[in-house]
């Protein structure tokens, strides 16, 4: 089972990396870029019998380590 975890900063929390990449792209001539936001993705291979168990395990991983609910949202996509 493969789970993809998308971790993104919440609205209103300043994305320093996004700002830096936007500034660099515009300096390189890509004037049409309006906004850049950086998203961290982890692809986790996990040995679980079924989807529900995988979902539960990965959710707990996000709560405990991967994401900080104060400033980040996370989304989990399960693939066979």
């Amino acid at each position: 089972m493969i789970a993809e975890v998308f971790i993104e900063l919440k609205e209103g929390v300043m994305d320093a990396e996004g700002e830096a990449v936007k500034k660099a792209l515009r300096l390189l001539g890509f004037k049409k870029v309006r906004k850049v936001s950086s998203v961290k993705v982890y692809r986790i291979e996990i040995d679980t019998k079924n989807k529900e168990e995988a979902e539960r395990e990965v959710k707990e991983m996000c709560e405990k380590l991967l994401a900080n609910p104060v400033i980040q949202n996370y989304k989990i996509i399960l693939k066979e």
């Binding site: 320093a16 830096a20 660099a24 300096l27 390189l28 001539g29 950086s38």
Partner: protein
């Protein structure tokens, strides 16, 4: 050329950190060196008195630090900006044999730029990068002393005997040398372009922590085919003086890098 005539540019943008100690190292040897903001080379928003051209200088140094915060990849943003504004001048500068030095973040910029490994003399900046410096094997920032064995000479190490072991400190998070295939490594060895390799106290090519980042073939620093473009991860400017590494003699291990390039410029220009 005379010592006083030599002019060195130490490049800076937001995030470069080690430009001051690098400028001081050159100044202590009697050349005039200054920290130059990238904007001073091309931007019209800069006052007339502060605008510069690459050919006002005889040596270009890209110092250590976190140019543009090391976002995307260490050195990626600065090298992309350099390529878009200074590519033509830089190619002429290198082709005419002027020395270019990249320390730590500077080495990452030269690699992303395609100026290193620099196999093709008449095309000093390759279209695509041919090697990469990626995240250390320990997945962590490493600030520790490192021992380097001098494998081959280049413009910045010709006053240092071959086989000598020197101590330069390292401080980086993305210093692991990676090649797309073994063929690149073989050519580097063949052309004697590998200048420094990490070793342990007995001079053997050991693993971590002697090799702080897991680089292929313990590579710490390489030069281009002509030997006038040199990039290394360790910081020579941090051991310029003896007292910086707890030694009584006046100069530390790092001074040789600065002395060699000045000697090269005095003899060849």
């Amino acid at each position: 050329m005379e010592l006083e005539e030599i002019r060195v540019a130490v490049l800076r943008i937001e995030g470069t950190n080690c430009e001051e100690e690098t400028v001081k190292a050159f100044k202590n040897l009697g050349v005039n060196a200054e920290a130059v903001h990238l904007k001073q080379f091309y931007s019209d928003t800069i006052k007339e008195s502060e605008q510069r051209s690459l050919f006002d200088y005889h040596c270009l140094v890209i110092p250590g630090g976190f140019s543009a915060g090391d976002y995307v990849r260490a050195g990626a943003i600065l090298s992309a900006r350099l390529k878009s504004v200074l590519r033509r001048d830089l190619e002429i500068f290198i082709r005419e044999g002027y020395p270019v030095l990249g320390i730590c973040n500077g080495f990452q910029v030269l690699v992303e730029l395609g100026a290193l490994p620099g196999f093709d003399e008449d095309k000093p900046i390759s279209e695509k990068p041919q090697m990469a410096l990626t995240v250390n094997e320990s997945a962590r920032f490493e600030c520790r002393p490192s021992l380097l064995k001098h494998e081959n000479k280049c413009v910045f190490t010709n006053l240092l005997d071959l086989g000598r072991i020197v101590m330069f400190p390292v401080a980086h998070a993305e210093g692991r040398v990676v090649f797309p295939n073994d063929e690149v490594l073989d050519r580097l060895v063949e052309n004697r372009q590998i200048v420094f390799r990490y070793v342990d106290e007995e001079g053997k090519y050991a693993g971590y922590p002697w090799n702080p980042n897991g680089s292929v073939f313990n590579i710490a620093g390489i030069c281009n085919v002509k030997g006038n473009v040199f990039g290394l991860m360790p910081h020579p400017e941090r051991v310029f003086w003896g007292y910086q590494q707890g030694r009584d003699d006046v100069y530390g291990d790092g001074a040789i890098v600065f002395k060699s390039v000045i000697d090269y410029l005095k003899k060849n220009f």
